[in-house]
Amino acid sequence: MDSAIAIHYCDRFHLYSNSVASRMYCSYLGNLARKKDLILLNPLEMHSLRSAIITSLGLSLLLRTGSYTTAIAASLLAIASKFIFKIRNKHFFNPANFGIISVLIFTSDAWVSPGQWGEDWWYVLLFAGTGGTVLKKVGRCDTTVCFLSFYAVLEAIRNFTLGWTWDIFWHRLTSGSLLLFALFMLTDPRSIPDARVGRLIWAGCIAGLTFILRNQFYLSTSVFWALFILSPLTMFLDYLWHSTRFSWERSLDRSQDNSSHEILDRKAIIFEKI
C-alpha cells in the first residue's frame, strides 16, 4: 500500500510543481505590475510559496485527472483566482477549491474520488490536525474544528433519526477525503473570514450545505461544491465583523520568533542589496 501511495504522489508531482511555478510566475507578474523590483527567488518572497504549496497539496491530494493539460489548467486557474477574484485586496475563493471546481465544470476528464483515501488514515490526519491546532502551525484551525463538529452533529442527528447503527456514522466521519478537505482546504487562512465569529458562522454554513448536498442531492463531491458556493460569503462576513487580516509574512515572523533577530539582519542585508 505504501508503494501505491508513493506512485500516487509521483504521478501527481506535476500538479504540485505547476502550482508552485504558477504562483511564482503570477507573483513575478504582480511585482512587475507594481513596479517593485523584487527578485523572484529572494528569501522575502519565498514565504509566499507556503500558500502555493498548500494549494498544490490540495490539488494533488484531491483532484484526479488523466490529462496533463487539465492538471496544468487546474493549477493555473487556482493561482489565477487569487489575483482575479479579490475585493479590498483579499481573494475570497479558496484557490485549490476554485481549481478543482473549474476543471470539473469546464473539462471532461477531471474527477474527484471521495473514497480514494479510505478510512485508515483518519487517526493520522486527526493527530496532525490536532497537533497543528495546538501548535498553531496549520492556519486558522478553529474553522476546521467548527466545520467537523457541526457536520458531525448533523450526521449524528440523521443517523439517530433514521435508526442506522453508529458504525455508519463513524464510517462517514472517518472518510480520509473529508478530513483532508477539513484540514488542508478549509484552513487556508487568506481566503476565509478574518474575525473568529465570521469564521465560525462560515464553517457552520459550509457544513450545513455539505450535509444537504450529500444527503438530499446525493452529490458525492458535496464538500467542494459547498465551499465554492459559500466562498463569496467571506466578504459579507468580513464587512460585518472586522479583524486583523492573516498575513503569511507575520505568520512566518511569528513562527520564527526565536530567530527573529537573525531574520531582521538578513532582511536588512537584502534591502541593502536591492
Binding site: L40, W111, D167
Partner: protein
C-alpha cells in the same frame, strides 16, 4: 536575468512533466484461462447500466434452494410500474462475466539463437452461474401503514411495490403474506422507510415457472430514474457475519465507475507467474484475491476490469454485440448512431464496463455501496502472465546466456507467486521445477519433514 529565471522555471516544469509521465503499457498476450464467478460459492451479480440519472439495474444471485421459497425484498428509490420491470437473460450476465473475468495469458520464449517468432496456445474456459432468492405476496393493509403502490407479474415473478410508514407494519405485512423474514430485519428496514424508499418484493409464480420449464431463476431487471447511484447491501447481511461476494458490472457511456464511500483498489495484475498455474488458475486466483483482500484489511472494493466494450486485448470472450448490450440494460446506443465509417473495425459503441468485486461482511462494510461514474477511461484488466521457457537445442552464446539466466527467472516467478497467494515457496519451487543455482539459506530445510 529575471527572464532567464523564468525560462529556467518553465524548463523545470516541463522536465517534471516529462519525467513523471507514466510509461505506456501495451496490453498484449494470449488469453488461456479466466477466473469467472463460478469460483465462488455464493456470488451475487449485479449489472448497472447508467447514464445521468437513468438506471437499468439487473440483479442475479446464485439462489440454489427450492424456487417456492424464493423471495426478494429490495429497497428501490421510486415506485416501479410493470413496464419498468423486465426479465433478463441469464446468458447476458454470463457473457459479461466471461468478457471481464481476470485472465491468464501465456507466452513461449523464442529460440534465443533464432529470429523472433512466437506461438500461442488458446484454451477456452467455462461459464458463470446466475440465480436469485425469495417469495412474494398480495394484500394491502392500511392499518399496518403499508400501501401497495403497484402489483404485477412479469415472466415467472409476481411483483409487489410497497411503501411503508414504519418497519413493524412492513414486517407484519411480509410475515402475513408468507415471507420468512429473518430476525433483525426490522431494524434494518426502518432506515430505508425513513428515507422514503419503496420496497420491490418479488416471489416466483410456481405455475408459470413450471409451465415454462425453466431450470433456474432468471435475472430481474428494473429501469428507473433517480439521482441515487447506490446498491443496498445491508439487508443481505441480516444475521450473517459471513463474507459475501458481489460482482458489480457497471456500464456507462462516460468511463470507469468507482465506489465513493469505500476505497476502490486494483487487483494485482501484469505479474509473471510459473507455468504450472495454468492447470490451477482458479485456485491461484482465489488465493491471490483472498491475500489481497486480507492485506487491504478487508474493507476495499477491487477493480477487476475496466475497458471500452468495443474491444479487448487479449479477449477472454468476444465483445458483446449492440443487441447483447441492449439486453444487458444499455439504453443509450440508439441515441448516438455512429456517423463515422468504421472501415471494418469494431465501431466504438461508447459503453465502458467496470467490473468491481466486493467481498463484504457486516463489520467491514457498514454502509450501503455508493457509486459514481468518472471520466477516467484508463483501461485495466486482471492479467497474469506465464512464459514457457525455450526447451530446444541452443548452441550459440545467446543461448548459453539464456540458459544461465533461466533459473533466476523461474525463482523470481516462484517468489512472485508465493507473495501473491501466500502459498508455500518450497511447494511452488517443486512444482515449478526451479533448480536454484543460488545456495539456499541453511534454515530453509531445517524443520522440513
Amino acid at each position: 536575468m529575471k527572464i532567464g529565471r523564468l525560462v529556467f522555471i518553465f524548463l523545470l516544469n516541463f522536465l517534471a512533466i516529462i519525467c513523471f509521465t507514466p510509461a505506456a503499457w501495451a496490453f498484449c498476450g494470449f488469453y488461456v484461462a479466466k477466473a469467472d464467478t463460478k469460483l465462488y460459492n455464493k456470488a451475487s451479480q449485479v449489472v448497472i447500466a447508467r447514464d445521468g440519472d437513468r438506471t437499468v439495474l439487473t440483479m442475479a444471485n446464485d439462489y440454489q434452494g427450492n424456487v417456492k421459497d424464493f423471495a426478494l425484498v429490495v429497497p428501490v428509490p421510486v415506485v416501479l410500474k410493470k413496464e419498468q420491470v423486465h426479465i433478463g437473460e441469464p446468458q447476458i450476465i454470463e457473457r459479461l462475466d466471461a468478457f471481464s473475468a481476470p485472465r491468464l495469458v501465456e507466452y513461449f520464449d523464442e529460440d534465443p539463437c533464432a529470429t523472433n517468432r512466437y506461438r500461442m496456445e488458446d484454451r477456452m474456459p467455462m461459464s458463470a452461474a446466475p440465480a436469485a432468492q425469495e417469495s412474494a405476496n398480495k394484500i394491502s393493509d392500511r392499518s399496518l401503514g403499508i400501501t401497495v403502490e403497484s402489483r404485477f407479474s412479469v415472466g415467472e415473478y409476481d411483483i409487489v411495490i410497497l411503501s411503508a410508514k414504519e418497519s413493524n407494519g412492513l414486517e407484519t405485512w411480509l410475515i402475513r403474506n408468507g415471507y420468512k423474514i429473518p430476525k433483525g430485519a426490522k431494524q434494518l428496514l426502518q432506515p430505508y422507510i425513513k428515507q422514503k424508499l419503496k420496497f420491490f418484493v418479488a416471489k416466483v409464480n410456481l405455475e408459470k415457472f413450471d409451465s415454462a420449464g425453466y431450470q433456474q431463476l432468471r435475472p430481474i431487471m428494473m429501469a428507473y430514474e433517480s439521482p441515487r447511484f447506490m446498491l443496498p447491501i445491508r439487508l443481505g447481511m441480516v444475521n450473517s457475519t459471513n463474507e459475501q461476494d458481489l460482482i458489480v458490472y457497471i456500464l456507462s457511456p462516460k468511463g470507469q465507475a468507482e465506489i465513493t464511500n469505500y476505497r476502490t483498489v486494483k487487483v494485482p495484475s501484469d505479474t509473471e507467474i510459473p507455468v504450472f498455474v495454468k492447470n490451477e488458475f482458479a485456485d491461484f486466483y482465489k488465493a491471490m484475491f483472498q491475500t489481497s483482500y486480507t492485506k487491504e484489511n478487508k474493507k476495499v472494493a477491487f477493480l477487476e476490469y475496466a475497458w471500452d466494450m468495443s474491444n479487448c486485448d487479449p479477449c477472454s470472450a468476444e465483445p458483446l454485440s449492440p443487441e447483447e448490450l441492449k439486453q444487458a440494460g444499455v439504453f443509450w446506443l440508439d441515441r448516438q448512431p455512429s456517423m463515422q465509417p468504421n472501415f471494418g473495425l469494431p465501431s466504438s459503441n461508447n459503453v465502458f464496463i467496470t467490473r468491481l468485486h466486493v467481498r463484504y461482511s457486516r463489520d467491514k462494510f457498514p454502509e450501503d455501496l455508493m457509486f459514481q461514474a468518472t471520466s477516467n477511461r484508463e483501461s485495466f484488466q486482471g492479467r497474469y502472465i506465464m512464459r514457457h521457457p525455450f526447451t530446444g537445442e541452443m548452441k550459440c552464446e545467446a543461448g548459453r546466456q539464456y540458459k544461465r539466466s533461466l533459473p533466476q527467472r523461474l525463482e523470481r516467478e516462484a517468489q512472485t507467486l508465493a507473495k501473491l497467494t501466500g502459498w508455500n515457496i518450497q511447494e511452488i519451487r517443486k512444482k515449478a521445477k526451479v533448480v536454484s543455482n543460488q545456495p539456499t539459506s541453511w534454515w530453509e530445510n531445517l524443520w522440513k519433514n
